[in-house]
């Protein structure tokens, strides 16, 4: 699918430094990334390697310390809030921790209603909105009638996470940044949800970045896999080449640490 010559989103030499002095911490270190339309890529790496940071930079929620980001061929310009709002019509995200992704003072309906409003559905009749929300929920194995009028803390962790994915089915963005989108979802629903997500992707040509610890998942869904270590991509390439024939020792170690069911899982190596 990567036949288009011009990347949809690309990062050049992006660096993010947190803190200063002795506390200085380079979370993302001179990263280059090209994302073509319709592509699905995964970023895999251990905790603290800067995955969330790079995704927040791509989203425009964090400002990079240095480097450039190009969107649809032009330098990205999100200096004012209005421009940011325009940008966010194209790029959406599922955040890592569903427990902190909700405003606990609002009912969960508002999360979905916001998405409909954003897609210009503000003036739709109430029944139509409910219908759209129910449909989106059904994609992620949820029943809207069961959830409506509830507050986030009345849901299970997995239900919160699934609702975050349901947003995407309403928003249909060009680019999706999914940070650990299924970490709290059971294997069975995960299969359904991934199927639906891939379906949507084919339908609207959505570009997806998965950020995950779950190497199996990365291998299952993505065209390209990037392995991240200490803010740098140490290995990248097609899913088959990276996961099945890793070159870097870091990648090998990660693969070795994945719990297996057909082989012995060696606990002595940590």
């Amino acid at each position: 699918m990567t036949t288009l010559t011009q990347p949809l989103l690309s990062a050049r030499g992006v660096t993010k430094v947190f803190g200063f002095g002795r506390q200085k911490n380079t979370a993302v270190d001179n990263v280059d990334l090209d994302l073509y339309e319709g592509e699905v890529i995964s970023i895999v790496g251990e905790s603290g390697s800067g995955k969330t940071t790079i995704s927040k930079i791509l989203l425009g929620l964090l400002t990079e310390t240095s480097g450039e980001i190009y969107f649809q061929g032009a330098k990205r310009d999100i200096r004012s809030h209005a421009k940011k709002q325009e940008y966010w019509k194209n790029i959406q995200a599922i955040f890592q921790d569903p427990f902190s992704s909700y405003n606990i003072f609002n009912k969960i309906d508002s999360v979905l209603l916001d998405c409909i409003n954003m897609r210009g559905g503000r003036s739709l009749p109430r029944e139509k909105k409910v219908e759209m929300m129910s449909e989106a929920c059904s994609f992620v194995n949820l029943k809207f009638e069961e959830l409506t009028n509830k507050y986030p803390f009345e849901l299970s962790g997995g239900q919160m996470q699934r609702l975050m994915i349901a947003r995407i089915f309403l928003l249909k963005p060009k680019i999706l940044l999914a940070d650990e989108p299924t970490s709290m979802i059971d294997a069975c629903s995960r299969a359904t949800i991934l199927d639906e997500l891939m379906h949507l992707r084919r339908e609207i040509g959505m570009t997806i970045i998965f950020i995950t610890h779950d190497i199996g998942l990365a291998y299952y869904v993505s065209d390209k896999v990037y392995i991240m270590e200490k803010g740098k991509f140490v290995e990248s390439g097609s899913a088959d080449s990276v996961i099945l024939h890793p070159k870097e020792p870091y990648t090998r170690r990660l693969l070795n640490d994945v719990p297996k069911i057909y082989e012995e899982w060696d606990l002595t190596t940590v």
Binding site: Q159, R162, A239
Partner: protein, 339 residues
């Protein structure tokens, strides 16, 4: 014969929502965990695993309410106890619970040692700060955590370190039973391995006698626990030893669940995972018959009306289905053949 550390008989609990509706999140669950054994709980998200974990401790506060059943921890029946007594004498000492996403719930403005002081002082009024520090230091060292962690704030720790710290804090009072709710789902594989190693160490060193482990990561569950229990819509649908549960499930839901395991192996990308279409039932009005009937591909008319109970299937296995084991296995074999 090892003695039973935790025994639960027909426990039912429910949430009462703001609209005075009942959500039957745990329905007549029975289980027993022996000394030195660990039990894993898997199941659809929202099926009541976290609620069961909360209920097991006998510590109920609104909106969660106790309906019926018995909980016996280390020979003590705690079913009728007052919440305050449970908090003082059971929590932390007999049974400890690590909530889902606990590591993100640590108050960012306090150092790790402060949490430890809180926990110990709640139970031992006369403990001095110095003693507590020494004790904590010793515990952290035996668990392979550097003592400097004690003086740090939660934000200064990496995810894996934070999670291991949370575990260390929960076993401070050496509880008999430890319940860990998704302790590793937010961690990378390496940190996950360290957490598991620590839990194993706790079991082997006898610091805890039994463990209940809740996770969605089936390969992990398979490697960590002795027995697996699969839940669906507030009920147990199947239990058994972990190896059999993973490779030879009986119940159609467990079959589907085990069929969706993803491991990074050649050919995985071409496999169609077994997704089960449909949505789990509304726990406010659970169906009269089998709760899985709506989504079951072997559904029969009587499934919708008959209340099925757990059937024994030898070797400590039990499953909740109207169909006999043999018939289900035959159906699975036919499906396998078709592929």
């Amino acid at each position: 014969m090892a003695n039973t550390m935790l025994e639960v008989k027909e426990l039912s609990t429910k949430y009462i929502t703001r609209f005075r509706e009942d959500v039957y999140a745990v329905d007549r669950v029975s289980l027993a965990v022996k000394e030195g054994r660990s039990l894993g709980i898997a199941g659809e998200s929202g099926c009541g695993k976290s609620t069961l974990a909360l209920s097991l401790m006998g510590y109920y506060f609104p909106p969660l309410h106790y309906t019926s059943g018995e909980i016996i921890i280390n020979g003590k029946n705690i079913s009728g106890m007052k919440p305050d007594d449970v908090r003082k004498s059971i929590l932390g000492r007999e049974i400890a619970y690590i909530p889902q996403a606990a590591m993100n719930a640590l108050n960012p403005t306090r150092k790790i040692i402060h949490f430890i002081e809180d926990v110990i002082m709640e139970h031992e009024v006369y403990a001095t700060k110095k003693d507590i520090y020494e004790r904590a230091k010793k515990l952290f060292e035996t668990l392979g955590l550097p003592a400097e962690v004690l003086q740090k704030y939660p934000v200064e720790l990496s995810g894996g370190m934070k999670q291991r710290t949370v575990i260390a804090i929960s076993v401070l009072l050496l509880p008999k039973v430890l319940i860990a709710d998704e302790p590793s789902s937010a961690l990378d594989v390496t940190s996950q391995k360290m957490v598991i190693k620590m839990l194993r160490h706790l079991m082997e060193a006898g610091m805890i006698s039994s463990m209940i482990f809740i996770t969605h990561e089936l390969p992990l569950l398979y490697n960590v626990v002795d027995d697996i229990m699969v839940m669906y819509a507030g009920q147990i649908v199947e239990t058994g030893a972990s190896r059999e549960m993973v490779f030879d499930p009986i119940h159609p839901y467990s079959k589907g669940l085990m069929g969706s395991i993803i491991v990074p192996e050649q050919g995985l990308r071409d496999v169609k995972l077994t997704a089960i279409p449909g949505v789990p039932p509304n726990l406010k009005k659970p169906p009269a018959g089998c709760r899985f009937a709506e989504r079951c591909r072997f559904v029969r008319p009587e499934c919708l009306v008959t209340n099925v109970s757990l059937r024994q299937a030898g070797d400590g296995r039990a499953y909740r289905c109207i169909l006999p084991e043999a018939e289900l296995r035959e159906a699975y074999a036919r499906e396998e053949h078709k592929k």
